[in-house]
Symmetry: C2
Subunit: 435 residues, 2 copies
């Protein structure tokens, strides 16, 4: 029977849930693993705050160093970058294994942390950094370890998925759906990290690094949120058989990887399209396993604690293994080359006067850029455009075949200059066969 | 850099896929794991047969003992019970780690095998025995290790899910859908293991043992297949908002477990209901993680090989770990007590003459057995019953609240004796909030 001391730094929502799980399920975990995991210290600067679970008084401290000194596994749950990084590096320097849920830090400065852990041959667990309780990091590192990973498509942010679900189902506009999300506690007072796509981008960056075995510069990740999504496009897409999702995408393309987050149309019949509300899901395609999907609660105190504790258990097994074999993870490829000129299908909407010759003009420009049109939808509906109230302006939707992002952007710049095109064109990427 | 010799016994569909994966992705696996996994021997009695991948001549043998002698990890893929068991036990006796996809053997005689592996402190991997390439065993053993598992609901057999999907979507009858499944290669010439529920039952027995930490007597598992599913009930269920699935269920109820496989209605809006065609999915509910779902191809050469190789890699890591810490699995609870008198909601269909007083008579019997009616649907449609052509016989559907299986069975026996009830009543269990 092994014995492992666990300490937590940062007792917010997830920290409290983790303490609760480690105490409440201690016997069960001992039975399952043959290892006794004992929570020895929990550090936080504020012990006055009301929490869902009362951490026993004798475990509380305000000094994070006390946690590091007394633990074999240090759980970092303070969040943010600066202090969290200091905590993790100090723990590693002290020879402790580390478990963290800090996607922000790992996505932007993971290299320094992973290199430090590797240098010291210490286990670092980060299951809780992506997809809450869904064991997707373990699936990538171990369950699918024999596969070359071809694609990862994820719905990795519950707030935006809730908003898009409501826009799709109830035809709400973005502001109304956001307001509703805030009222239900699904969106924070300042929701920008979520709705502008950064949270999902941090998560897909971590998955991409794991899947493709190298570090990437987070600045290379293309990030576009849902703030500017017009309900008209959600509606037109629905009519064409598509559901709009904020997809986080990682793909290997030759020697490069595409890593991007943006609103994306996927076929409404696909499994990912049916992931609704605050749920998260990750579709991973491997060369042997084909397409697999992992689904669950992507946030919240208890689900995230489940992931943290799974890592704590792995760290414990690692510590009891005298020859220290780390779980499969390969940073051998060095820096990943991120391809920015990605190759996708596109949904384009132009607001145009209902006159002959308009489509021809737009189609000509697309042809000049080698962009092939798959289908066209012109609706008999009138767009309300400020200053053009007298005219009949209609939405013209063009679905393209696969084209390069740069060509699309250049074509759109040119089309925008055409006198027939009122307002800025709308561009939404389309992912075929998401699942 | 570690070095692990791998041998395969049984080179059928999955064996061939496994050999292909180990050879084709050898470099990738070495990079990811830091371990070289070398396929050293493959045994089969027939090397004349055409295979999707040609196993190199120098690896082939017809003598399984040669595989055991020359490998560190022995992969058993012969299937069946007798010879497979002999192979596994001989490999363990020789001190080799074992990987197997043999659900039939593990479900019915797993105890002997797991005890032998435990006694010798050897790794035994069986990810491929459930859900093809979906890493669900790993999720239960490791990814969700901190959780008390409350429920497992699985669509674990692709053949039956294909048939039920076609019956639901196209209103086909069972025989037509089965014929179609055979034509598409989704059902075997003798499909009884699949359609009578045995395959799913083997799989849920394995998941139940893992989740609840004890062995169970496979004879205690309630198994009912889809052979007698009437398309009328699929249709009536659809109207009530339900989709019919062959669900494999494991639940902890007090100190007992329910382990059962039967056609089950679930709400059409739930994620499990949307798992269509030959895909598999497993929903696992834990006390902390909440509901998670794992989804993918539940069979086939390549997906299953992906699971086999994940186990081979785990076995390799285990072998290189001198202190030999096994992944969490707990058989400490001894024999699991299987509860047969389960507690569920029910869909009941009675074919009755369209006359006053019929519902009252049936409702009285149900009341006598403490079965509470949730809703009633009487359709204005005529059932064709042999010998009663002159009468207007209509289907009367009753959805009950939760009731005990024994009470339902006893009530049905009594109702069947009522002169107003033509034909045998139909009973289908209903699972609320499957996801």
């Amino acid at each position: 029977m092994g014995f492992v001391r666990v300490g937590i730094i940062g007792c917010g929502t997830v920290g409290t849930g983790t303490a609760k799980l480690l105490i409440q399920n201690a016997d069960l975990i001992k039975k399952k693993t043959g290892i006794e995991f004992k929570l020895v210290k929990v550090a936080d600067i504020d012990w006055e705050r009301k929490r869902e679970f009362e951490v026993p008084k004798e475990l509380r401290t305000t000094d994070y160093k006390e946690v590091i000194d007394n633990s074999d596994v240090v759980v970092e749950l303070v969040g943010g970058k600066t202090f969290a990084k200091k905590v993790i590096l100090e723990a590693l320097e002290a020879g402790k294994c580390v478990v963290t849920a800090n996607k922000h830090l790992l996505a932007e400065e993971g290299k320094e942390i992973f290199e430090e852990a590797k240098k010291r041959n210490l286990f670092i667990g980060f299951e809780a950094s992506v997809g809450g309780g869904i064991p997707v990091i373990k699936a990538l590192r171990e369950g699918l370890a024999g596969n070359k990973i071809l694609n990862i498509l994820g719905i990795l942010n519950g707030t935006t998925n809730y908003i898009l679900t409501r826009m799709f189902e109830e035809n709400l506009d973005f502001e109304t759906a956001l307001k509703e999300a805030k009222e239900k506690g699904y969106a924070e007072a300042d929701p920008s990290l979520d709705i502008d796509g950064w949270d999902a981008a941090h998560k897909i960056a971590i998955l991409a690094m794991l899947a493709y075995g190298g570090y990437l510069d987070f600045n290379d990740v293309y990030v576009e949120g849902i703030r500017n999504v017009d309900k008209l496009d959600v509606e037109l897409g629905k009519e064409l058989g598509y559901t709009l999702k904020l997809l986080a995408i990682a793909k290997k393309v030759d020697s490069e990887v595409e890593v991007r987050v943006h609103p994306t149309f996927i076929h409404s019949e696909e499994a990912l399209a049916k992931v609704s509300g605050v749920y998260n899901a990750v579709m991973i395609e491997g060369d042997f396993v084909g397409k697999t999907m992992f689904y669950g609660q992507g946030a919240g105190s208890h689900p995230t604690a489940s992931a943290v504790v799974a890592d704590v258990i792995d760290a414990g097994r690692f510590l009891l293994c005298s020859s220290k074999v780390l779980p499969p993870v390969n940073w051998e490829e060095g820096e990943l080359k991120v391809r920015k000129n990605f190759y996708s299908r596109y949904y384009l909407r132009f607001d145009v006067p209902d006159k002959p010759g308009v489509l021809a003009k737009i189609a000509n420009v697309l042809a000049d850029y080698n962009i092939s049109i798959a289908s066209v939808l012109q609706k008999e509906m009138v767009c309300k455009i400020a200053g053009r109230e007298g005219e009949t302006i209609v939405p013209l939707v063009i679905l393209t075949h696969k084209a390069f992002e740069e060509d699309i952007q250049n074509a759109l710049k040119e089309i925008q200059k055409l006198p027939v095109v009122v307002d800025k064109p709308v561009l939404i990427r389309v992912e075929e066969e998401a699942y």
